[in-house]
Symmetry: C2
Subunit: 240 residues, 2 copies
């Protein structure tokens, strides 16, 4: 094959290759839920390979020297309104817990995120379990105001996510292993290495370069960067 | 006229009435520039009455107990990339000053914002001068890395904005009056009363209620709230 033809074919191959898009998230974060759902909807609309990356928001905040936005009273009040409007517009059943500080900071999501890391590690074929389990945990903490710190709570979510009782028991055990603790730590560090100071963090791999986006309000720009089209938060409806 | 017909006509009148959209901004803020340009483009596309509201970012930060986002190193680095990408996508000739901390915090924009308040007060027919003057000040600080603190610098910008030398002299004098100092203070307080913790702040008046949006990344949601359509940051091109 002549060199020029080879280069042309390589070029076409590269242009058609599915771009890898990673999303680092923590179920403690409602903005992460919005970003997660939108990307899960677009994974079948855009030519992307979506990688779900559980990470720890607390570790990202600590590692970057950032502090929770809710500490500024006006920002806290605004976030409540902003999330309410976004949830309606994005059609995500988000509903803040009665005591957000207790749910987010006192109870936290360490056990839940370690469980998700275990699911991530054990999954062999795609990430269907990880997607469903993440959603069920968000449903508990950010929609139904239910606990996600106790093994019993995690098991309930796992059952709804279609994970068998036996598997759940194994995953709970695996969650407390050094292997999984390190896996979650490493993912969190990877987010920090990409420049994270909060979550969600969306990392688009384009021609060997990582384009990093923070938050759930850059989808129009993300689409532009990866050569796709943004048609709002409900792409399947927009496509009909 | 029967009561029902009257109510129907009133309903049609309300639906057709131009919604008032205010944008509070400070030329120290590059995100404010992006928001300002987008809203100035949409004022002729959406059925809105846009009100340009010069305010002081320093006063908003102080009044809300917020602190500059750039103090977190990862956030500072991210903002640089984010602004670069947004500026290209929004087609605003944004270019950071060589020493952002000096331009933004040491030199600041107090004199420039007082001048804009004077322009706002003196303008009788619309806000063409205020729009042009604001843009010329942004061009200096956030595109050409030029001073905007000295009277000579402000005069140069005013000349480009089409304000005569005589008028400029009067406006400079007016800028230092208690009247104008209070006007800028009051606008800043108004932004704080709307819940501001930063700028730009977009306030949409819908059926007697103020819907408040922070930043330059909620246009899709703003459009949804006022019953208009978002077609990206370049609506006139999209309309052709």
């Amino acid at each position: 094959m002549p060199e020029e033809t080879h280069q042309l074919l390589e070029g076409i191959k590269m242009a058609n290759a599915r771009k890898v898009v990673e999303v680092f998230y923590d179920v403690v974060s409602p903005y992460s839920w919005l970003g997660f759902e939108v990307l899960c909807r677009y994974r079948n609309v855009w030519n992307i390979e979506l990688k779900l990356r559980p990470a720890l928001l607390g570790g990202v905040m600590h590692g970057s020297g950032n502090r929770p936005p809710g500490l500024v009273p006006n920002k806290f009040l605004y976030m409540g309104k902003d999330l309410h409007r976004l949830a309606q517009y994005f059609q995500v059943p988000l509903n803040p817990p009665a005591n957000p500080a207790e749910a987010m900071f006192e109870k936290g999501t360490l056990a839940a995120m370690r469980f998700l890391s275990a699911v991530e590690m054990r999954e062999v074929d795609g990430d269907k379990q990880l997607e469903r389990m993440s959603r069920e945990l968000w449903m508990r903490i950010w929609s139904l105001d239910k606990d996600i710190t106790q093994p019993g709570s995690i098991s309930e979510a796992a059952m709804k996510a279609g994970i068998s009782a036996g598997e759940t028991e194994e995953l709970l055990k695996l969650s407390t292993s050094k292997l999984i603790k390190d896996k979650l730590k490493n993912s969190t560090q990877e987010a920090l290495d990409h420049g994270a100071f909060g979550l969600p963090l969306v990392v688009c791999h384009i021609n060997g370069k990582a384009e990093v986006f923070f938050g759930s309000d850059r989808f129009e720009l993300i689409a532009h960067c990866i050569g796709e089209k943004w048609v709002g938060p409900k792409p399947t409806i927009a496509k009909l």
